[in-house]
């Protein structure tokens, strides 16, 4: 019986040590198996806290998720002039449709698309729409345009991880994928009553 008591913690230690060793190997491999190419530098291979916490099939515990989300919430930049939806929905439509930008074949880290249709339905007339994210058809028609939903949508576009630490959606504003002006155009595409999203 005594032996068992000793063996259990030893076995636990051993499995933890093996897991850590594997993790160290993965991190080393994610650098050594890659090379920088144009704007895609090796910095991209290093994880931040969110990426590290969300790199397993099981999400972190609720307390960790809440702590991470609070930290991401603090990184959202809200429009200083309170102008959330005053963009041009036609511009927003173009940004939503373009999935270009930030690969090693792109020359500049600027002028990126939002890639929204990769995962979401938006304009009901667009057939080629992804299904990884929820459908956004009729976005404002269904949800209205009250302060709460408008602010939530801005925040979600700027930093999706503030609402779900392990969201599949990129952090468009925080990550420098889209500019503030571009996000305002996408907001208009979602909220403008004249936008095809709300027809």
């Amino acid at each position: 019986m005594k032996k068992l008591f000793i063996a259990v913690p030893l076995a636990l230690c051993a499995s933890v040590a093996v897991a850590d060793e594997l993790q160290a190997k993965v991190e080393e491999m994610m650098l050594s198996s890659f090379k920088a190419n144009g704007i895609a530098s090796l910095d991209r291979q290093k994880q931040d806290e969110i990426q590290q916490a969300c790199s397993s099939p099981t999400p972190p515990d609720a307390a960790t998720m809440q702590r991470l989300q609070a930290a991401e919430m603090a990184k959202i930049q809200w429009p200083a002039d309170g102008n959330y939806t005053g963009g041009d929905w036609k511009e927003g439509q173009k940004i939503a449709a373009s999935g270009r930008g930030l690969t090693w074949t792109d020359k500049t880290p600027n002028n990126n698309g939002g890639g929204c249709y990769n995962c979401h339905a938006m304009d009901p007339n667009e057939v080629s729409e992804g299904t990884i994210g929820p459908s956004l058809e009729g976005y404002a028609k269904l949800r209205g345009n009250g302060e709460e939903i408008v602010k939530y949508t801005w925040g979600k576009l700027w930093n999706s991880k503030a609402y779900h630490a392990c969201s599949d959606m990129p952090r468009n504003g925080y990550g420098g994928i889209l500019t503030e002006a571009q996000i305002r155009h996408v907001m208009a595409f979602l909220f403008d009553p004249a936008s095809p999203v709300n027809q």
């Binding site: 594997l22 993790q23 190997k25 993965v26 491999m29 994610m30 050594s32 198996s33 890659f34 090379k35 920088a36 190419n37 895609a40 530098s41 090796l42 991209r44 291979q45 290093k46 994880q47 969110i50 990426q51 590290q52 969300c54 790199s55 397993s56 099939p57 999935g99 930030l102 690969t103 090693w104 074949t105 249709y117 990769n118 995962c119 339905a121 009901p124 007339n125 667009e126 057939v127 080629s128 729409e129 992804g130 299904t131 990884i132 991880k161 599949d168 990129p170 952090r171 990550g175 420098g176 994928i177």
Partner: protein, 265 residues
């Protein structure tokens, strides 16, 4: 042979322009079936077979003594059991790194030329044709890689970690797109690689002839482009990350029939 390809392209054009409603499942299986009868990958397979038998390189040697894991010169069934650990090379190799190893050791063609090269060009293009030849001789075979080997098992585990590893400006991992059933990016259906069937579908349909670009892509080429779209840095040809992901997919899909070479949109 040229005429046949043209005919295939016309069929694809018709299939793609057929009207589809937003609700309708965007499904390309029908035209893939049409294509399977005259898969242009056959051209690469023929080129590869010739390359296998032709004396080339500084050593003016053929690849007929290349050991793909089942003994020198045995091609039948070899692809279905790769990646595997090779004692002579001292590492786990997929079909591409193994062929590269044979080209260097038998023919004297430096691996560096392939590693530093570009897809669809030079020796790397020749390697792709050899891949077409070798996989065709495992068509219909069940994927059967040896996970009992500790080095292969370790590669599988590294591959699984890599699959979930988020990185880069968009926080994507392989799992972002490939861990749910029945999902699409735009009109492209995504295999769920966390399931046995999905892993076999992903692993067992590459290399493939890509109709949209009229190009023959190997699995390394496919994974290279996945990493590009993931917004990662560029993976090095034949590096461990590629072998690890390959081992993960093949190991997960073990026991299911491979459909090499595939036809893709």
């Amino acid at each position: 042979m040229r005429k046949r390809i043209k005919a295939v392209a016309v069929c694809v054009g018709i299939a793609l322009t057929a009207p589809a409603s937003a609700q309708e499942e965007l499904n390309f299986d029908a035209y893939r079936e049409m294509l399977a009868d005259g898969n242009p990958a056959e051209l690469y397979e023929m080129e590869g077979e010739e390359l296998w038998r032709t004396a080339r390189g500084p050593n003016n040697a053929t690849l007929e003594q290349c050991d793909l894991g089942l003994g020198a010169g045995v091609v039948a069934g070899a692809a279905a059991q790769l990646p595997r650990y090779f004692e002579d090379a001292g590492r786990v190799q997929d079909i591409e790194t193994r062929l590269m190893y044979c080209m260097e050791t038998l023919q004297g063609i430096p691996s560096k030329e392939i590693i530093d090269g570009k897809f669809l060009q030079g020796e790397r293009a020749k390697l792709a044709a050899l891949v077409a030849y070798v996989v065709t001789h495992s068509k219909g075979e069940k994927i059967a890689i040896d996970l009992s080997h500790p080095k292969v098992k370790e590669m599988y585990e590294l591959g699984e970690r890599t699959f979930y590893y988020r990185l880069g400006v968009m926080d994507f991992s392989c799992a972002s797109c490939h861990s749910q059933d029945g999902k699409r990016i735009r009109a492209t259906q995504l295999p769920n690689i966390t399931t046995r069937e999905g892993a076999a579908e992903g692993w067992g349909s590459w290399p493939a002839y890509r109709v949209s670009s009229s190009q023959f892509w190997t699995m390394q080429h496919r994974l290279w482009d996945c990493f590009r779209q993931q917004r990662a840095a560029e993976p090095i040809f034949g590096s461990d990350v590629i072998i690890a992901l390959s081992t993960f997919m093949a190991g997960k899909g073990n026991g299911i029939e491979a459909k090499w070479p595939g036809v893709k949109r």
